[in-house]
Point group: C3
Chain length 137, copies 3
């Protein structure tokens, strides 16, 4: 059994942004030498998410409007008594989740035709880390 | 270490539907020969989900009403400028997620008494695929 | 490859509560003897969740208010025709999800600085079980 771990560091210019990770993940699978297994892609922060969906800009606009409706930014969170102003970012992270498992088959990510992996930054403009861990044979 | 992969193809008659997968998954665990490990059950589409909950028809009605409230079908999604009309299906997929990991113990799915695995179709009436990958010893 | 499984039993005094699991999980990783791998932490119930976020009491109050807004307790669920009164607990479980994968690196949980693992009880005051399964080398 092989295990291979890499850490990605992202620093978005905007406070809220989506980063398409699939092109970054493909060479990590190759470097892992794993033919059959699982790849965990997990944000190491509580104000970010990782999810699988379509790489279509209109849909991405829909996702942001939807996240803002269900977990709005605003001044009224109890969490802000600590001096933070990112209460919404924590709830958005819970909503889309902070991690996915990508199956690896014959040395490649075994994704559907339109499936792409995204990092969702909800409180950026600073260095944030993602762990990518591949395990298999 | 063993790895075993199967692909399921579903084609629901209704556009939106729940399919109970647990009876289909049990023989896959047996065929894998894995006694201790993890089983990934993951939709290969961005308009479908996989989740674990109760097999109770009233609850399923509640889940559909709830999904429609939080991620409603409608004509107003930016994504529809591409010619699609399934913007809600993408958001519903994000909400319930597209995959679960089922633990395997002593050669069986190690689920709680009422836990069942469901495929949630949000834009069906066509062939859709699910990957099931079992990894362990 | 090693696989190690433990079951936790929780019994919250309140019907709805958060339980910080990280201190309970650390010795399980040690007992597993796994240096590199994955740890699944999964509620064995359909009215509970497991998630990763911050251990900050104000944020926890925000999370409860948010869950109540998006998946409110109330008498109007179809599921209640079965005699149950916990329809909201099922929807809250779908929202936050019932499981997480924690990466294990050099024999420890490889979490970000502020990441902590929580069990979310949505229908407690009785024994509930969590499966913790560690797999790796």
């Amino acid at each position: 059994m092989k295990a291979h771990t890499e850490y990605l560091t992202l620093h978005t210019q905007k406070r809220r942004d989506l980063v398409h990770l699939t092109p970054t993940l493909a060479p990590i699978v190759q470097r892992s030498g794993v033919a059959e297994g699982f790849m965990l892609v997990s944000a190491m922060h509580i104000t970010a998410g990782v999810f699988v969906n379509d790489d279509e800009s209109g849909l991405h606009a829909d996702i942001w409007e939807w996240l803002e409706k269900l977990a709005p930014a605003g001044p009224d969170y109890h969490h802000h008594r600590t001096g933070e102003d990112n209460g919404d970012a924590h709830l958005k992270s819970l909503l889309v989740h902070h991690e996915v498992i990508v199956p690896i088959t014959r040395g490649r990510m075994d994704l559907g035709t339109w499936q792409r992996v995204f990092y969702a930054e909800f409180d950026g403009q600073r260095d944030k880390r993602i762990i990518v861990k591949v395990m298999g044979t």
